[in-house]
Amino acid sequence: MSASLLTLPARIVWNAVYWTFDRATWQYDLMVAAILAFVWLTPPAWLGDPTAGGLGLIGWLLSQFR
């Protein structure tokens, strides 16, 4: 599959899935930020986490609007 044939959003997804970037590049930093956001912001209850406590940031924010 040639990357140039893909549209921009599809190319972003392809580059994230087919990872060829080195460490200490801006693409790597972006991936790390996305992973940390998932780990820290997702409410543990959504994942059925057997050990974690608390709501997580997203869960806390949602609880403020209820």
């Binding site: 790390v32 998932f38 780990v39 543990p44």
Partner: protein, 200 residues
Amino acid sequence: MTFTGLIGAICMLPLRAIIYFCVKLRIHPNVLTLIGVLINLAAAWALALQRFVLAGVVMIVANIFDFIDGKVARELQMESAFGGFWDSVMDRFSDISLFLGLIYLYSALGRTDYVMVTALAMMFTVLTSYTRARAESLVSKCKVGFMERPERIVLFMIGAFTNRMAAVLWVILVLSIFTVADRIYFTWRELGTTKSELAA
């Protein structure tokens, strides 16, 4: 400098001092590798007992040994083919130990779903290193895919220190599957290129 590059540079400062002392004491790098593995077993035990913060601290200590062994070998001019082999095998031993600790924990908690998530993450972790090792017997380099050992170790530490191990396991599982697929695709493409070059 990128953010992750800056963190790496900061972490290197104390590590340089540790490397200096190991070189001064002329500690054999293979011994450092073994010490790292033994400490990692303690981390696996702490994970099994749900003592996550303790596990995180022990993992930091274990991985200092794991990180410095190659650098000490270079400084002492003790690099060897066996040292590389020993290091790789012990790395797999450490990786699998940590997953086994979590499998023990989740089975003790009666959570079959997370036993399976952890077991699958362990399977794709092993496949991540196997696909690269096998690919590099066929092509010169196969370093595609995000989820390599340093990323996995840092994620384990983050999961342990912030008590978000389930989220970390999902990340390791999904990205390890992509990494294995990337390596299979990369090797298939490279071997295809090599064949067409030979035919030309």
